[in-house]
């Protein structure tokens, strides 16, 4: 009996994941179709760009600085064991631009923005505001999802460039000002091995993660059921879902592009 119920559980949860993945895909198709519908919701999009981009800056700045800083600290003490502490700058720069900048900034934004998208759209769903849009002959995908999707797609790359830069600065401060590495060596080693593709691939990743954050956040909000409790569930699912999807996608993007 226990085996049956365990199998039952595996089956049901697999089906529900597939169901949600299907919903995500259908929403993506609807969003892409709505993207080309005139007039483009420019004002709403700039509002969202401010929300996604500008208001996320403090969180991203702190995350990036301290990530770069701790990376320098660990690399320095680890690499010192075989006398390679001069490479600290290289390690910080490559780690930040290739992986940590895009992934950490995106996960922070998923927590900040993905959750608020889910909560806002979820509240609109349970208070019938989305139905009201439909009755006024307004496509809710076009009006609500497109601006958030486009804003996240555009702003995440900017945030990630910021994160890259600040991570490197954080590393510099620790390595040079605290651990006493020569400033010239640090900067030379940073620039010497850093290639443009390290940064550009990070930017492409950021754009993809931006789409994931907006899509999952909007999906969870848009299809919310069950009042205030449902909105809470949607918010949690938006953050967890987007974060996991970012980590998985990140592996495949790395494997594909580097």
């Amino acid at each position: 009996m226990r085996i049956v119920s365990a199998l039952n559980w595996v089956g049901t949860s697999t089906l529900s994941y597939l169901d949600e993945a299907g919903t995500t895909l259908i929403l993506l198709i609807k969003v892409v179709r709505a993207l080309f519908k005139r007039p483009f919701p420019l004002r709403l999009t700039t509002q969202q760009m401010e929300e996604v981009g500008v208001r996320s800056l403090p969180v991203v700045i702190i995350t990036a600085i301290f990530t770069g800083a701790v990376l320098a600290l660990q690399t320095y003490s680890g690499f010192k064991r075989f006398g390679a502490e001069g490479l600290t700058g290289t390690v910080v720069a490559l780690s930040m631009t290739r992986e940590l900048g895009p992934v950490l900034a995106s996960i922070m934004v998923a927590g900040r923005v993905g959750s608020s998208m889910a909560a806002e759209l979820g509240t609109m769903r349970v208070t019938e505001q989305i139905d009201a849009l439909i009755t006024m002959a307004t496509d809710p995908i076009h009006y609500l999802v497109v601006p958030r999707f486009v804003a996240a797609l555009i702003m995440l790359p900017f945030l990630v460039v910021f994160a890259d830069l600040l991570g490197i600065i954080g590393g510099y401060v620790v390595a040079v000002k605290i651990l006493g590495t020569s400033s010239t060596i640090y900067i030379n080693r940073t620039l010497q091995y850093l290639e443009f593709s390290d940064i550009s691939v990070g930017i492409v990743k950021a754009a993809v993660f931006g789409m994931i954050i907006a899509l999952i956040g909007c999906q969870m909000g848009f299809y919310t059921e069950g009042g205030a409790e449902g909105v809470g569930r949607a918010t949690t699912k938006a953050v967890v879902g987007a974060s996991i999807l970012i980590l998985i996608t990140n592996y495949f993007l790395t494997a594909l592009m580097f």
Partner: protein, 253 residues
């Protein structure tokens, strides 16, 4: 009355999973007529009007608006048909990120070329009709429940609809505010000649605003008649409902 109903519903069916909500509903609404659908909470009254305006898609059956079958209409065409409708939601469903005038003028901003100053004027005009002048720049969160409903009403009539749908217009309001909503509904019908479907379980409101009352029970509209016919009907289901008795053929399930 003209020779064609403005809304004709035939054999409408809608289920959610295994739960049958509408099971062959039939209804005609004539131009300028006010039809009230009564029934217990959770019996599918909201589902009925959400099917009419295309928020929900029925499983089978047809809905015609002015002789045009909307159940077969594509999304784009459905949006053309929707502009004939105005809908008042149970809790008003105002957009809480927009000011009152942006709410009332939402349809105009989306579907007309009017400039914002002109939209404000139209919004003020509609708000005066519902007795709320001078609140253009408030946010919905600053309004009381009764005011929200009246703003919702102003928003619904801003596009000059031919058909109004009222979802529990008096629920959640005190009897006096509820009655002023009733008066507004009657006033709109008399001044603008709009046909309407109202769903409610408030019998006082139903008697007051209805030309005809129809009772929804087990997915079917089991009895339709004028308020007088309803009162004197010998249908035991209708009698139990309109007199609000726990005893009778309708049982809690």
């Amino acid at each position: 009355m003209s020779d064609q109903p403005i809304i004709r519903i035939r054999d409408l069916k809608k289920s959610f999973g295994s739960k049958v909500v509408l099971d062959g509903a039939n209804l005609d609404v004539w131009p300028g007529e006010s039809v009230v659908v009564i029934g217990q909470s959770g019996v599918g009254k909201s589902v009925l009007i959400k099917c009419i305006i295309g928020i929900l898609t029925p499983d089978s059956g047809t809905i015609e608006i002015n002789g045009e079958t909307i159940t077969a209409a594509g999304f784009r065409h459905m949006n053309v048909i929707r502009r004939k409708f105005g809908m008042l939601f149970q809790y008003a469903a105002l957009f809480d990120s927009l000011k009152v005038w942006e709410n009332v003028g939402f349809g105009l901003a989306q579907h007309s070329n009017l400039k914002p100053p002109r939209i404000r004027e139209v919004a003020e005009e509609k708000l005066q009709m519902v007795g709320l002048p001078g609140i253009l720049d408030l946010m919905p969160s600053e309004l009381s429940g009764g005011m929200r409903k009246r703003v919702g009403l102003a928003r619904a009539i801003a596009m000059e609809p031919e058909i109004m749908l009222y979802d529990e217009p008096t629920t959640g309001l005190d009897p006096i505010r509820g009655d002023s909503i009733n008066d507004l509904i009657i006033q709109l019908r008399e001044e603008l000649g709009v046909a309407s479907i109202t769903i409610t379980h408030d019998m006082i409101s139903a008697y007051k605003i209805a030309d005809r009352i129809s009772m929804l029970y087990k997915g079917k509209l089991i009895y339709t008649g004028t308020p007088d016919e309803i009162r004197s009907s010998d249908n035991p289901f209708v009698q139990q409902f309109i007199h609000g008795k726990a005893e009778g053929p309708i049982r809690d399930e």
